[in-house]
Symmetry: C2
Subunit: 136 residues, 2 copies
DNA sequence: CTTCTAATTTATAACGATTATAACATAATA
DNA sequence: TATTATGTTATAATCGTTATAAATTAGAAG
């Protein structure tokens, strides 16, 4: 995990397992996805540890917490600035690495101080499209 | 509420009260905000009715369900296409009425069929900015 | 290497948002 | 008016998440 030396956290076996699972993971897993996957190798792992660790990682900017899925928080270890492409049927999330220059005029800004921008593209992923046509 | 004739729903006193509350509401209220406000006039109103009604309104496209707030769903009766400006401190949400032409190349699209786009601007609202400076 | 302290993990309870269920009430329709 | 579908209510259940307290462990100090 990049930046790990720059913003270090105390490394425990549990945290290492979670970091290992997240490293390069492009699925944008939820806490429960992470728990399920990691507890296979660490059966004693508690759910609370997953939440605690995610909170710690979020604080050190090692993961981004996404509010894209209305059902649950999802986590993104990709630290490059990027946007998302979301399947409205299965909630799959893909990354979009492009920089959109999105600026607001003063009147549009409405007194807000803007610190970041994020674009969501909504649609249907290839897997769900296939599923559809087969049902005709 | 616009479109009400085009996509009608059966109008009950409860639904009317909820629609009245939502009409022109720019606060992007949660189900609980709506319940609190509406049950002042309709003390017998049940929480379930708020959820049921919101689900019905969503189905008829009378409200948009937002996943902007990680804690809870919020609802937007504004049917003009628009984007959002979100205060990271108090979760206030303001509307941005601008059309951004955001297109992805085929390779960026990754097989997804894109049906919509939404831009979130993150920052600090004027109220929270004021709160900050007074604490120096 | 041992001792100490603070941080971490665990199990579990509590919480808030949301959904499900079933009985009751109301509206629309025949 | 009788019938049927739809909406409302109260309430239980569920799910994701946070809080708590006791037990464990990592890391620092000696």
């Amino acid at each position: 995990m990049t930046h790990m030396k720059k913003y270090p956290i105390r490394l425990t076996p549990q945290r290492l397992a979670i970091l290992e699972y997240l490293e390069g993971n492009k699925a944008h897993p939820s806490a429960s996805d992470i728990y399920k996957a990691v507890s296979k190798k660490h059966p004693m792992m508690s759910f609370a540890t997953v939440y605690n660790t995610l909170e710690t990682l979020r604080g050190k900017k090692h993961v981004r917490e996404l509010s894209i899925d209305p059902e649950k928080k999802r986590f993104d270890p990709n630290k490059k600035p990027h946007h998302h492409l979301i399947c409205l049927e299965c909630r799959a999330i893909a990354d979009v690495h492009r920089n959109f220059a999105l600026d607001l005029t003063d009147s549009e800004r409405y007194g807000y101080e803007i610190t970041g921008t994020h674009v969501d593209f909504y649609g249907v992923c290839p897997k769900c499209k296939r599923g559809r046509s087969s049902k005709i």
